[in-house]
């Protein structure tokens, strides 16, 4: 009987795990006691650590809606404040500056906005890349602090595709709205599965399709290459290019690993650049974060390689990239150029930052502004406006309903209008170029044509144009 044979084989293993070798062990009672005491001490230590490290929350739990009191509303975000994606720290700093400005002018419907930002190191804390957070810190653990300790009303502008994907389930289970996720993944627009989840910027697919049209118009017949981050960011951008009708040879479809602990992302970059150079690729599309964009441009320059660079809005901000070789590259933008003299929001934001320099201590009247600041201010204004539109009584369900039905006046150059079916946010943008700055690194975008392109994520949706919009600053924000 094979079954009996099998059973006989298993018996010693089961015995092993239960360790029921009868009467073979006499353990010293003393040893047992020692172990018990150690364990008790360890348990006590648990309490001790918890008491020193975890402060008791003071955030208002007085009303039915978490985070909301008669005079305040507490919101939060997990963002990279250290580590590989630290250049994005400015985004939430600008949002905070905007909230502080609003608070100084009496807040929204009598409530001051308290914005708690926690460092999650782009969800890569375990790699310790100059990262503040400890080994057990993740986007989820920091989000738990925001939700379960600080009792935030919602998270606003939390950053990173992989990072925010990792908390979707937690946020949904606990019923906390996840607003204006700072990432162009199309994951944020799934209203039937995640009714409280909202994106902000145009999707990477849309950006890729607009780039595809630009390449087909201006670089017809040229070979095209691609370097992308090896997650949804790179995958979405590449899908957009392909859906837009661009053929990229598989040898020239390259990636870098944002989380490569053994060799680091930079070894990928060297290989990627030399592959494209030896294949004589004339147009290169980059879906990379700013630090990596800069490294790619510098590496290519050292190798004497200068194709036409087309860079995702996520990794193109000239001040963050800080490489002179970015001049004249092409990018995509849903926000105004920071040197746009006609846009009223630019001087408005500058005056806010100069009035209270807590978030930007080194910023002076002559400092150039960058795209990160505009981005942070844009979603901060969008949040404040929705809150104002919702009225004096604030609930999570009411906020979501208001957001789905209000046309928001913010910094973007295309209307921001969520609906029951659109939780993505901005749906398009303009083609911009990076303005040269002599021999120094560029600091400005140019938006030569004010044509806003929009399209859907799928292959068959045609590219259309939208009006270029400059929303007036609402009176209560002036």
């Amino acid at each position: 009987m094979p079954a009996a044979l099998l059973w006989r084989q298993m018996v010693p293993w089961i015995k092993l795990f239960l360790a029921v070798h009868k009467g073979e062990e006499i353990q010293m009672i003393k040893g047992r006691l020692t172990r018990t005491v150690t364990l008790l001490a360890a348990s006590a230590l648990t309490l001790g650590f918890a008491a020193t490290g975890v402060g008791i929350s003071t955030a208002g739990a007085a009303t039915a809606t978490p985070g909301v009191t008669a005079t305040s509303i507490t919101i939060g975000a997990t963002v990279p404040l250290s580590g590989i994606a630290v250049s994005y720290a400015e985004v939430s700093a600008a949002a905070n500056a905007t909230f502080n400005f609003i608070n100084k002018h009496g807040g929204v419907n009598g409530r001051k906005i308290k914005y708690i930002r926690l460092d999650d190191c782009y969800n890569l804390a375990a790699y310790g890349l100059g990262c503040t957070a400890g080994a057990s810190t993740t986007t989820l653990s920091q989000t738990q602090v925001l939700v379960a300790q600080d009792h935030v009303f919602a998270t606003v502008g939390s950053l990173g595709t992989a990072a925010q994907d990792s908390v979707l389930s937690y946020m949904k289970t606990n019923g906390v709205p996840q607003l204006f996720v700072n990432s162009g993944s199309s994951d944020w627009s799934q209203p039937s599965t995640y009714p409280n989840l909202f994106g902000f910027q145009a999707s990477y697919q849309v950006e890729g399709k607009v780039f595809a049209q630009y390449i087909k118009t201006h670089y017809k017949g040229e070979t095209v290459g691609f370097i992308g981050q090896n997650d949804d960011f790179g995958a979405g951008g590449y899908a957009g290019l392909v859906n837009g009708g661009i053929n990229i040879a598989s040898a020239n479809h390259l990636s870098y690993n944002a989380a490569d602990p053994v060799l680091g992302s930079f070894s990928d970059i060297g290989t990627d650049v030399s592959t494209l150079q030896s294949d004589n690729v004339k147009v290169v599309v980059l879906d990379s974060i700013p630090g990596i964009t800069g490294a790619i441009l510098d590496t290519a320059h050292q190798d004497g390689y200068s194709p036409k660079w087309i860079i995702s809005s996520v990794g193109a901000d000239p001040i963050s990239v800080n490489s002179p070789y970015e001049a004249n590259a092409i990018t995509f933008d849903s926000l105004p150029a920071t040197n746009d003299k006609t846009n009223p929001w630019i001087p408005w934001l500058r005056s806010i930052i100069l009035a209270d320099k807590t978030d930007f201590p080194k910023f002076t009247a002559n400092s150039p502004m960058d795209g990160n600041m505009l981005y942070g201010a844009a979603f901060a204004v969008a949040f404040a406006e929705t809150l104002k539109a919702e009225g004096k009584t604030v609930t999570r369900a009411g906020f979501v309903k208001t957001l789905e039905s209000t046309k928001l006046a913010t910094l973007s150059i295309t209307p921001l209008q969520y609906s029951k079916s659109n939780h993505q946010g901005l749906l398009g943008g303009v083609i911009a170029n990076i303005a040269p700055n002599g021999s120094a690194a560029p600091i400005y975008f140019n938006e030569p044509s004010h044509v806003v392109y929009t399209t859907g994520n799928s292959k068959n949706t045609p590219i259309k144009t939208l009006p270029y919009v400059v929303s007036p600053i609402p009176a209560w924000l002036k």
Binding site: A19, E24, A42, S43, T46, A50, S136, A162, D165, A259
Partner: protein, 358 residues
């Protein structure tokens, strides 16, 4: 009465059951007074405790070095993740058993060459294993979800448990505590198994193989089988720990199990105490609350946490702690008592030899 008498005589399995049971209940009790964030941290610590139990058994008792435990964790985590992703309705226990078995199988595969390797060569091979796991998970996208990983539903808290809670944050607090309690319970069960294993015939055979393999062979212990067994057990514990970690976090991605996690596990085990049961628990506690400790030290010393010094504080503190542990308490925090005893004995002997008997 028979049960109580059995505690005093031979059936120490019962004694262990009682001890571990009481401690688990105590910890579950503690979870009622801890704030929800600390409970979430405790859940992670419990998962890591299970992994360290296995690692402590492998390194401390069988004397084989492994840098591959993050890899074994990843195997268990992905087994759990892939199963739960497609079969969300099966009972949780099934997911855990599946992950444990998957971990054991990966341990067996690694163990086959390991019986021929010792010391740094073995470390190198297991290192290669845990380095290979991440790219594997990144590349078989249709199964593993690639870089983005797989998402599971968060643990659902049973309605009877919700009755313990009230107020506007009842659900959040209940969810956090239910996760922690489940994790602590599983860690308790694993602890009981490992405690039995440590003191079983196999455990003693393992120590003999570690200390003197020739002697072990002379008394009839099969070396290859015993060493293989050590890996299989360690890997199944790591698999279970990885699965628990996945269920707690409701997601599994390649970034969760970097090579550095293996080093972290090793550090935690050494700090807690190699080859000790309580050391694994201490390691888990350190893992869970190290962030709080570092933040506390930063705030005490007034170091800006985002400065260069502040962002490296974790490494500085644990590096120093590791060195101090290795010098003054080679058996880790769990062995501090023994180390103090040994120092006192040595002093007494020295005094005695000087003729100054107390």
């Amino acid at each position: 009465m028979t049960f109580l008498r059995s505690l005093r005589v031979q059936e120490t399995t019962n004694a262990r059951f009682l001890c571990v049971g009481l401690l688990t209940i105590l910890t579950l009790g503690i979870s009622f007074v801890l704030p929800p964030v600390a409970n979430s941290q405790m859940a992670g610590g419990a998962a890591i405790t299970i992994v360290i139990l296995g690692l402590s058994w492998l390194i401390g008792w069988s004397g084989q070095i492994s840098l591959g435990n993050s890899g074994f964790m990843a195997v268990g985590a992905y087994a759990a993740g892939i199963w739960a992703h497609h079969h969300a309705t099966t009972p949780l226990i099934f997911t855990f058993i599946l992950a444990t078995v998957a971990g054991a199988i990966s341990g067996l595969i690694i163990a086959i060459p390991s019986t021929r390797l010792r010391g740094p060569y073995l470390a190198g091979m297991t290192l290669a294993f845990s380095a290979a796991i991440t790219p594997l998970a990144q590349n078989f996208t249709s199964v593993t979800g690639g870089e983005g990983g797989l998402f599971l539903n968060s643990l659902s808290t049973p309605s009877w448990f919700l009755h313990f809670f009230s107020g506007p944050n009842a659900t959040i607090n209940a969810n956090a505590q239910w996760t922690a309690d489940l994790a602590v319970f599983i860690a308790g069960v694993s602890f009981f198994f490992m405690a039995n294993l440590f003191h079983s015939r196999t455990g003693r055979a393992m120590r003999l193989v570690r200390d003197n393999d020739v002697a072990a062979e002379l008394v009839g212990i099969n070396l290859a089988r015993t060493r293989t067994l050590a890996f299989v057990v360690a890997a199944s514990f790591a698999g279970l720990g990885g699965a628990l970690y996945t269920v707690i976090n409701a997601t599994v991605t390649p970034q969760t199990f970097p090579l550095t996690l293996s080093i972290t596990l090793l550090t935690l085990m050494v700090l807690g105490g190699i080859g000790t049961l309580s050391g694994a628990v201490i390691g888990g506690i350190i893992y869970a609350f190290s962030t709080n400790l570092v933040a506390h030290i930063n705030s005490l010393t007034g170091v800006n946490p985002t400065s260069n010094l502040g962002s490296n504080m974790q490494g500085i503190i644990f590096g120093a702690l590791l060195i101090l542990t290795m010098i003054f308490a080679p058996r880790g925090i769990a062995g501090v008592g023994t180390a103090v005893q040994r120092l006192r004995n040595a002093r007494r002997t020295a005094l005695a030899s000087n003729g100054a008997v107390d």
